[in-house]
């Protein structure tokens, strides 16, 4: 292991965690972590939540203090970008001109926001939210002299809705436009998405479903002023945030001839089509035993657990990646947590108190539990994760029984 070199491209959640996990697991070779952002690795989840309101401090945004990297003998290169990959000689070229030789390369390049493919999408005042710089810009605009703004959010996904919640908390007028028939359609059960939609509307968000933006219009200053929708409605907007999903950053992989298809394709050990190169996090498509097919997951859990799997592989342990996926979102005081994968379920059973906004939706496919969405029911979430990891035999009938309580079940099991 000594003398070997690992180069990690992308200094986000997955990249930073790989470097840390390598050292924690005893790797003694050289580690170089390259990130094109000028910030040391930080967490993204607060960018649409507490960081916008000031509740999360900048220091707390960092995954690790800056001193961590030199202390762990990790070379961190911020503000540089990998622009070339030569697999023959195992070398990465950076924008600065530097060349890095590797024995193992880890691609952890993440993803970038999709652009809205309509006229006016590049007007000033049209923003996306992926990095700390984006969040800083947005935060400054939302604070804008205490003025109440018309904020239009395109896309009712997690980022769009979290942002809508934060902007409402700050007192702005918020309209969310979504092309699909319901909010979070791709991510959540109809039961949970209906509940969240109602909660947003109750707090004054104007939620426009089945509507598409066809054009963004500028005002007298040249800044965006309104959205035109496909039914002709004009939605006023001082500021537009586009949250319509992301595209994986695969350019390096494509350039080097690695297998790619909406993400860098990897096997169950997170190896690309070149065994010396791994890909992890938002940029990688991997075979998931929980989905039963290759998927690309955009979550902290996935980034950090994959980082540890790759670190273990480099250190000689060859475990396949099988971690139970999980995700969380915070909107107002609503704490949503998802254990497992709920897409493609054919049966959903709701347990808990829907009226009070404390409930879980248990999702089954062919009678097997595949995922659980919990709202303000953290105990259900944690226990579900354990059950899914252990391969549970929880049935829909059990969940539907009056008085069903997962806490009770967990206590019996231990």
């Amino acid at each position: 292991m000594a003398g070997r070199s690992v180069v990690i491209i992308g200094a986000g959640q997955a990249g930073s965690d790989t470097a840390a996990a390598l050292r924690a697991q005893g790797f003694t070779g050289s580690i170089t972590l390259v990130g094109d952002e000028r910030h040391p690795p930080y967490q993204r989840p607060p960018l649409s939540k507490g960081y916008l309101t000031g509740a999360t401090l900048r220091e707390d945004l960092l995954l690790r203090p800056e001193t961590f990297y030199p202390a762990q003998d990790i070379e961190l290169l911020c503000g540089d970008e990998a622009v070339g990959l030569d697999r023959e000689i195992r070398s990465v070229t950076l924008r600065s001109g530097r060349e890095l030789r590797y024995d193992t390369l880890v691609l952890a390049t993440g993803a970038r926001p999709r652009r809205l493919p309509v006229p006016g999408a590049d007007l000033p005042g049209v923003l996306t939210l992926r990095g700390a710089d984006d969040s800083d810009t947005l935060r400054a605009r939302l604070a804008d002299g205490g003025r109440t703004l018309d904020l239009a959010v395109v896309g009712a996904g997690f980022i769009g809705l979290e942002l809508a919640a934060t902007a409402r908390k700050l007192g702005h007028r918020v309209t969310v436009v979504e092309a699909l028939p319901r909010a979070l359609q791709r991510a959540l059960s109809p039961e949970m998405s209906a509940h969240l939609s109602t909660e947003h509307q109750r707090r004054g968000v104007r939620l426009l479903l089945r509507r598409e933006v066809t054009e963004l219009l500028a005002g007298a200053t040249g800044e965006v002023r309104a959205l035109r929708l496909n039914d002709g409605e004009l939605v006023p907007a001082d500021l537009v945030v586009v949250g319509i999903g992301v595209l994986p950053n695969v350019d390096l992989a494509v350039g080097a001839g690695l297998a790619v298809g909406d993400g860098i394709l990897v096997d169950e050990h997170l190896r690309t089509s070149d065994p010396d190169i791994h890909a992890i996090g938002d940029c990688a498509r991997f075979p998931s035993p929980h989905a039963g097919r290759p998927v690309r997951l955009e979550s902290v859990q996935n980034a950090t657990d994959q980082a540890r799997t790759v670190a273990a592989a480099v250190c000689g342990a060859g475990e396949p990646y099988t971690a139970v996926p999980w995700f969380w979102s915070e909107q107002y005081e609503l704490r949503l947590q998802i254990a497992g994968l709920t897409a493609g379920h054919d049966q959903a059973v709701v347990a808990g108190d829907v009226e009070q906004g404390r409930f879980s939706v248990f999702c089954f496919r062919e009678g097997r539990l595949t995922g659980v969405e919990s709202l303000n029911r953290a105990a259900d979430h944690g226990i579900s994760r354990r059950l899914l990891a252990a391969g549970t035999d929880l049935t829909p009938e059990q969940v539907a029984r009056p008085g069903f309580d997962l806490k009770h079940l967990a206590r019996q099991a231990t």
Binding site: A20, P45, G50, D60, W328, E330, A378, A379, G382, R386
Partner: protein, 108 residues
């Protein structure tokens, strides 16, 4: 600043000085202490920063919030009376100095 002792399942321990206003979880992250994952970054969502507080160290702890209590039901290693989420244990000028925590076998 507080002196915090992290005891590992194999019997070894790591003792570090953690500056305020970090949490016991951040103290572990700063020092790359294996055994604290803290996937949610401290927002009491994940339960992967679970610790058992050593009751003999005599350090007074902050009250447990309901969210923390809920999350502790789902930890990977069994919950005990001494279980806490280390991200909810914040080091202030005079609190938590001398705290000793035991790291569980597994966090996820």
């Amino acid at each position: 600043m507080a002196k915090i002792t992290y005891k590992h399942p194999d019997g070894t321990e790591t003792v570090v000085d953690v500056p305020a206003p970090n949490t016991v979880m951040r103290g572990a992250k700063i020092n790359n202490i294996v055994g604290i994952e803290a996937q949610c970054g401290g927002s009491a969502q994940c339960g992967t920063c679970h610790v058992y507080v050593d009751e003999t160290c005599g350090v007074a702890l902050p009250e447990m919030h309901e969210d923390e209590d809920e999350v502790l039901y789902g930890t990977a290693s069994p919950r005990r009376d001494s279980s806490r989420l280390s991200c909810q244990l914040r080091i202030t000028d005079d609190a938590l100095d001398g705290l000793v925590v035991h790291l569980p076998e597994r966090q996820s």
